[in-house]
């Protein structure tokens, strides 16, 4: 499966990677000088905000590009771009760069809201581990086509309080078992919140016989038959969940609070370093540990993209390139700073740059690389909408 995806990935890249303009990196650097870049990125985590501020200062001193962090979530940024398209502002939009992935990317791509292929122009893009990290080329199976620059790796992990749980459940079945023994102590965010949708996809992948159907458009599959085990599982799980499955959290951040409060005993995250990171800054107790399911867990990549009407696209490219630099990526991977896994391939780095990563603290609650290597691919992007709709029809009436 993975191999087939990879080979088609390579084929796709060869077909589609032709620069929009024959611009060189020097031209871009020249044009970028003095530009102001509005970078729309979620601002709910002060560690990430601090990191972005650091990157902003670096890019200012290295390239004379001024970046402003607009603390805005991707959907709001997409709304801004849509409004601009409606009003006919096609050349000087308010968003120059935004943090996105998955559905937001797929929808922006299909509606022509993205700038064009640009990552092939960025020197640091050559360092990205596209070979072993297929999700840097396929964002929720949508071909990236150089339209967005990989920023960090994500993998669904579970957080549990080891003071309360001796052995963490490592499969969907064990999780149900845990809920039966500890009613009210587990929950997941309600789809369409993306952590919630990811949990639903994870369960679907675990309960379904390995099949190609999940990696093809949902219209081609017998949706009802394939998802039947998922719904009967959730039907059983929900009454055993926090607030009896009648109230849901709105995302992983709220679940982290509930874990700290002891209202729930298992939470989830897209960042494998989250537990260590949160212990370090006091948000979670020292007893919290990370675990994943034996079948592996869903992994993906998050990116930065440039809208079609960005006012300072060159400045945005310079900033995106810096975000992929070994310097920025190593700092980002540091759990004391942010703790977000790198997109770079160690083999492509110089010895000095490799050393930046080797010395990083790992954190007490982080799984080993070997344990984390067990990854599942996202189902085809069209499954997201279908699953969310079916979920809402069943559980949000």
């Amino acid at each position: 499966m993975l191999k087939r995806l990879l080979s088609s990935a390579v084929a796709f890249c060869v077909l589609t990677t032709s620069p929009v303009w024959a611009e060189t990196w020097t031209d871009i650097l020249e044009k970028a000088k003095g530009q102001t870049v509005y970078f729309h990125a979620w601002g709910g985590d002060e560690n990430i905000n601090d990191y972005i501020q650091w990157a902003i200062n670096r890019v200012d001193s290295l390239y004379d590009v001024e970046v402003q962090h607009v603390k805005n979530v991707a959907p709001n940024a997409v709304n801004q771009i849509l409004s601009e398209k409606t009003a006919g502002n096609d050349d000087d939009g308010a968003v120059d760069l935004l943090w996105l992935n998955g559905e937001n990317f797929a929808n922006m791509k299909s509606n022509g809201l993205l700038y064009g292929a640009f990552t092939q122009l960025l020197p640091n893009y050559a360092l990205v581990d596209t070979e072993n990290k297929p999700t840097t080329l396929f964002d929720f199976t949508t071909p990236v086509d150089n339209l967005e620059a990989p920023w960090g790796m994500a993998q669904l992990v579970f957080l549990h309080d080891s003071a309360e749980i001796a052995e963490a459940p490592t499969s969907a079945a064990e999780l149900l078992n845990f809920a039966q023994n500890n009613p009210g102590r587990f929950t997941y965010p309600a789809p369409p919140a993306f952590h919630g949708t990811t949990f639903v996809k994870q369960i679907l992948l675990e309960l379904t016989e390995p099949s190609d159907a999940l990696y093809k458009p949902v219209e081609l599959a017998d949706f009802d038959a394939i998802t039947e085990p998922l719904w009967s599982y959730l039907d059983e799980l929900h009454p055993l969940m926090w607030r009896e499955g009648k109230v849901f959290t709105d995302g992983a951040p709220q679940m982290k609070q509930l874990l700290n409060d002891g209202e729930i005993l298992i939470s989830l995250s897209f960042n494998p370093f989250e537990a260590s990171n949160s212990i370090a800054n006091g948000e979670l107790p020292n007893s919290v540990r990370t675990h994943i399911h034996d079948s592996g867990t869903i992994a993906n990549t998050h990116f930065v993209g440039i809208p079609y009407n960005a006012g300072s696209p060159e400045g945005a490219m310079v900033f995106a390139n810096f975000l992929m630099s070994p310097e920025a990526q190593a700092r980002k991977a540091n759990t004391d700073i942010w703790g977000d896994p790198t997109v770079l391939a160690m083999s492509k780095l110089t010895a000095t740059d490799r050393a930046r990563f080797a010395d990083l603290p790992k954190g007490v609650a982080t799984l080993s690389n070997e344990a984390l290597a067990n990854v599942l691919l996202e189902p085809h992007a069209s499954w997201v909408e279908a699953l969310e709709k079916a979920w809402l029809e069943r559980y949000s009436q």
Binding site: W42, Q68, A87, G88, N107, K246, G262, G282
Partner: protein, 580 residues
């Protein structure tokens, strides 16, 4: 003072300015809403060129009606929205029957402004900290008794039907209704009515219910309608205290507008339009139902059914109600402050395990720009609003003097449109028009969008006391001074200083609370205390959330404190002005 002929006629320029003001004000503030509504209605009927939808159709409406959970979401919206409004109204009535007029009521009056200055979201966050299953109240219970060593699995907060949302909203709207009643109560001659009716054998309760309340309601109808509309369409508070699967309509609509699937924008637009029509329908029904109620009341009173005197349990209930409300506000503030000073804090500890100033120091380094931007926006918006409102009210006075029917009051009714139209229903449309003019992301446009919301509240707050002003003072002043401006500035303005400053403070607080307009009209170029606070609230770090919530509360609090202190200082030698 025998004839008004001795009045100096206001200059014609002055009266021309005054004549234009209501129309100008209304036009200026209606424009964004009309344009914005159009910008929402077109997509609601399938016209959305940016997504290559060029033909009109009813598809979005069909999709909206078929969207999962719309029916139950509607029921929850009605429970929480109408429940909150009527609960707040009932609590207001109870407090008035039990406590007005009394010494205690005067104390409540004094405590009102700090309570009013608490932003909705901050109040809900504080309440959540208190009564969640792992909240502070249960921690205190554990500390005292040793029970509930683990947070219970049941909860009073965020129930699936919207009851807790209704109560949260009602507790937040009660001070507002109380505040609006303060302006009206003196004109009702409550004390004398109660005295008279008691002599005829009627109880306090009967007097209030049958005589005073209908008069009061008529005068606070408009603020009450604003409360109804707000409660039915609130987003931020519903996200914190409301049900989730499905949420209330406004949250559902916001989610559709924010869905990565861009085609759901048209469904969201249809939903927003439906919500707008629903709110209008409910307000219309509330207005209509007044007539049969009045008829019924008159009939009952005419029949002369003796409503016997009985002991009045309202007083203790009202005292209890006021104490609980006050306590919730106070404890919410205390627990928020505690969280802002926390390093680690878990259940069941009633105090943080370790404390730190880290959250404060992290924010202090970057608060300067948002703080400055907030001050500029709120300061200018409330200043412009107060000038326009005073001019509009002076125009009423002018028309009254000319014995012309004050039909501009009808124009000013339109000002309340922003309070009735759900923000989600027009803010996107307004944004599109601003972008079309390339005005988006500019400070004047952002200020304008704030004014749309600030102005009605300033008008709402000031119009009562202003209209009650005894115009004979102004006449005397004019006969004694050199001109209308001097007379106004030296006599009428100082006499109205207290309500004017309160109106400014209210406008200030309203401006600070704006999130969607700041984000969308400002195109993300302007960050305020509120955009920062909302950004923090999307994260998991309660300590940072608490710091931002406190920052956000502090500015309105300072303004309300100034609005109380300045008149107190100014009138320190005027005994008559100190009272009231």
């Amino acid at each position: 003072m025998t004839s008004s002929l001795s009045l100096r006629r206001p200059t014609s320029l002055w009266s021309a300015i005054l004549a234009i003001i209501p129309w100008l004000t209304a036009a200026l503030f209606l424009l964004p809403i009309i344009v914005g509504l159009l910008g929402t209605w077109l997509p609601a009927f399938g016209y959305f060129p940016a997504l290559n939808e060029h033909s009109l159709s009813l598809t979005p409406w069909r999709q909206w009606l078929a969207y999962p959970g719309v029916n139950s979401s509607t029921v929850k919206t009605l429970i929480s929205g109408l429940g909150a409004s009527f609960l707040a109204l009932a609590m207001l009535l109870l407090i008035l029957i039990g406590l007005y007029p009394s010494r205690l009521f005067q104390k409540i009056e004094k405590a009102l402004s700090p309570v009013l200055s608490v932003p909705h979201a901050a109040f809900a966050i504080g309440l959540g900290f208190l009564i969640a299953p792992s909240g502070w109240l249960l921690r205190l219970v554990h500390e005292a008794t040793g029970w509930v060593a683990r947070p219970p699995v049941w909860s009073l907060f965020q129930d699936p039907y919207g009851f807790s949302l209704a109560v949260t909203l009602a507790l937040k709207e009660l001070p507002f209704l109380l505040f609006m009643s303060l302006a009206v109560l003196p004109s009702l001659k409550v004390h004398r009515t109660l005295w008279l009716m008691r002599g005829m054998g009627y109880s306090r309760r009967a007097t209030w219910l049958w005589m005073l309340w209908p008069q009061l309601y008529r005068q606070i109808r408009l603020p009450f309608f604003a409360v109804v509309a707000y409660s039915l369409t609130v987003v931020d508070l519903a996200l914190i205290a409301g049900p989730t699967t499905p949420p209330t309509l406004s949250v559902l609509i916001t989610r559709l507008f924010n869905d990565p699937d861009l085609s759901l924008r048209t469904v969201g637009a249809a939903g927003a339009t439906a919500l707008f029509l629903g709110v209008l329908l409910i307000l219309w029904a509330l207005r209509i139902v007044e007539k049969p109620l009045a008829w019924w009341r008159n009939r009952t009173l005419r029949r002369g059914r003796q409503i016997t005197r009985h002991t009045c349990p309202e007083r203790p209930i009202a005292i209890l109600l006021v104490s609980i409300t006050g306590l919730l506000y106070l404890l919410g503030l205390v627990v928020t402050t505690l969280w802002s000073l926390t390093l680690r804090w878990r259940y069941p500890d009633w105090l943080p395990e370790s404390t730190s100033l880290r959250a404060w120091s992290r924010i202090t380094g970057r608060i300067e720009d948002p703080l400055w931007c907030t001050l500029q926006l709120a300061g200018l918006a409330s200043l412009i609003a107060i000038v326009l409102v005073i001019l509009a009210l002076e125009n009423e006075v002018r028309l009254k003097q000319m014995n012309r029917p004050v039909n501009t009051r009808r124009v000013l009714w339109l000002l309340y449109l922003p309070l009735v139209v759900p923000q989600v229903a027009f803010i996107f449309g307004f944004q599109v028009s601003l972008i079309g003019l390339r005005w988006d992301g500019t400070f004047p446009a952002l200020l304008w969008s704030h004014l749309v919301f600030v102005l009605p509240y300033v008008f709402l707050t000031l119009s009562g006391p202003y209209r009650r002003f005894d115009e004979r003072y102004a006449w005397v002043a004019r006969t004694l001074s050199s001109g209308p401006f001097t007379a106004y500035w030296r006599v009428k303005f100082p006499m109205l200083l207290r309500p004017i400053l309160y109106a400014v403070a209210t406008g200030f607080a309203v401006s600070i609370a704006q999130y969607l307009p700041t984000l969308f009209v400002g195109a993300g170029r302007f960050s305020t205390l509120t955009t920062e606070a909302v950004a923090m609230a999307t994260g998991s770090d309660r300590r940072m959330m608490a710091v931002m919530a406190l920052w956000q509360q502090s500015l309105p609090l300072v303004m309300f404190a100034l609005a109380t202190l300045i008149p107190a200082l100014y009138f320190r030698n005027r005994r008559e002005m100190m009272q009231n």
